[in-house]
Symmetry: none
Subunit: 197 residues, 4 copies
DNA sequence: CATGAATGAGGATTCATTCAT
DNA sequence: TATGAATGAATCCTCATTCAT
């Protein structure tokens, strides 16, 4: 089984290289040569591990959104109550200016693609669904605790949470000022709380 | 006796063709040939009117965001009071599934580029600033009327409005279901109202 | 007849513009647009007066070599004796660093073309023949005066004169130092004198 | 079992193809497709081995002038005395009508470019310097032997030798008659001898 | 005559993909 | 497995030429 593992490691290595390259340079500037350079392997390797260029990006989106989801998921597990859970969730989303910039640049590339390509859209949908579960869980708990509006539909409200998170982080990305990160973090949390109450 | 169209008309014609092509096909699939085909002119024309491909997209983003802003701007002028103004604003943003899809696909492409390219970012910033003026005006009026929270900073809150609008519409775009358009419209308006109150 | 004259004037104007452009930019960088810009006329004019781009250059070479020949021709008419005639000839060839640079840049472009294209070659041949006449005249006079070797074939020796002139001026051009102009001038004259004696 | 040719071999192969194409067709008619066709490789290969078209020509001029210099250099090594050395040098320059035509066509293209472009000019300067060394060596020996004018500056005179060689060969090229090759060869040698004595 | 908008062929360049080693 | 040489389709861009006004 060592073989298989090695292969998976190599793939992850390539995906991470693709992620870095994509974040730095953007979709249309990234070539397989550049990804290979980032990964410090030869150009042939990328083709050995992936069917074609598209496949790399498909897998990258899957890999990325899974990683994000796992991080978010574990972050809410640390808390018991709804509001701390929500705070922890938002905190895990607003990791740091560097991480958010790196991820959202790439994520915007993917959203742009997803708006026309159903393969990307479905992967994103899975991510949305996962996020929705997190949100629903928090909301349901909060409703039981009596801290959130009991008339809210957890499913709908959790989608709204994600919409607001993305809206805030995209706008923060466009402002291009690291010191605004905290302000957007707080603003985002405050807005979500207002909506849930 | 059809005279030659004036230069500016032709440029707009090409920009609209570029917009359509971009919306249909996405950034990396759009070639100058395709834009020319959409505009039903020869390939050389695009180069005659624009320095290069990049210039077309730069001008397109400017043209598009200006157009959107004008539409939004005139929509709020129709109302006197804050809440109807806000409703009118949001209504002008959520025009129709077709229009929103067409615009947001292209806008996502531009946001992705703007995240790495300051030229695009500055154009988008101008758009944000314009939207912010609209928001500020509504909020200030609402605060005078006593319908909005008087402690809100109009400038900050107006940015939050835009973030929420974009967040909702991007998510709607990803859901790829036209009938959700109304629901997202209402949801967006409701969320903004909650935040402003 | 005024019409005709005006046309010829305009053509000369365009040819001079082409000469300037060619000297500044070189064959492959010169476009009809550039020539038109140098002549401060619209692009269409160049096509109105000349069949096509090639025709401009053909006529330019003719015009240029005629102009040079006339200048050389009139310069030797000023003197009576062989050696002063020769000196005057060489002086008229080594006009100034600026003029020589301008001419020889263009002339090299034409020689390069002439080496493969018989149309250019024939025009140059006419120039060579004209120069040969000048040389022959000087040599014949010098032989009568007893200052030149009587066994020289005026025809052959005059070709050698031209070869040496071109050789020196091309090398001077490559040295790219204006102050060497006088030295090459003297060296050229001295070499020719040695050959003729 | 033919191994892949080494990179340097392939580059030389391409340079030779470029040389042939350039000689046949001239600077502005040579495309990368044509060079590739001459080399019997695909279009992409030229870009694989060279940064761009310009780089091919830069390297070609370097390669060509080096080759010429080596040939000239070894030709004078065969003789001991000044005049035989000079004869051998001139003989190596006037190789054959075919070779001279092929080289001087290309060389004229480069001289034309060099007159405006310092990169080409510097490469040519290196060639001139190399030729100058050959000439200086011959002249110095001849002065010691007492067969050349002792007052000549070897450096200057050697430049004059090169000017005369180029002047003669360019003129021969323009005459476009192979049978004149010998006559120009002899004429060139005779002229140089007159200048050195 | 003059203008400059429009055309489209042609060329440099890029890059995903293939494949021999 | 891994490499990187080779391929050629695809694309941006240039520019001579045409032609309506």
């Amino acid at each position: 089984m060592a073989r298989y593992k090695k292969t998976e490691e190599k793939k992850s290595h390539l995906l991470y290289a693709a992620f870095q390259a994509l974040s730095d340079l953007g979709y249309d500037a990234v070539t397989l040569q550049i990804i290979s350079d980032y990964a410090k392997v030869s150009k042939g390797v990328a083709h050995y591990y992936f069917e074609n260029k598209e496949a790399i990006f498909i897998e990258l989106l899957t890999w990325l959104t899974d990683k994000i989801f796992k991080k978010e998921s574990s972050s809410i597990a640390l808390e018991e109550k709804a509001i701390p859970k929500l705070q922890s969730y938002i905190r895990s989303v607003f990791i740091s200016p560097e991480e958010n910039r790196k991820f959202y640049r790439v994520y915007l590339d993917f959203l742009a693609k997803a708006s026309r390509n159903s393969v990307y859209r479905e992967i994103n949908q899975r991510f949305y669904d996962n996020c929705s579960q997190i949100g629903s869980e928090i909301i349901t708990i909060g409703q039981k605790e009596g801290v959130f509006n009991p008339h809210l539909s957890p499913k709908e409200a959790s989608r709204e949470i994600r919409a607001i998170i993305d809206g805030y982080l995209i706008q923060w990305l466009m402002m291009d000022e690291d010191q605004l990160h905290d302000i957007y973090h707080e603003g985002c949390l405050a807005s979500i709380l207002k909506i849930l109450k």
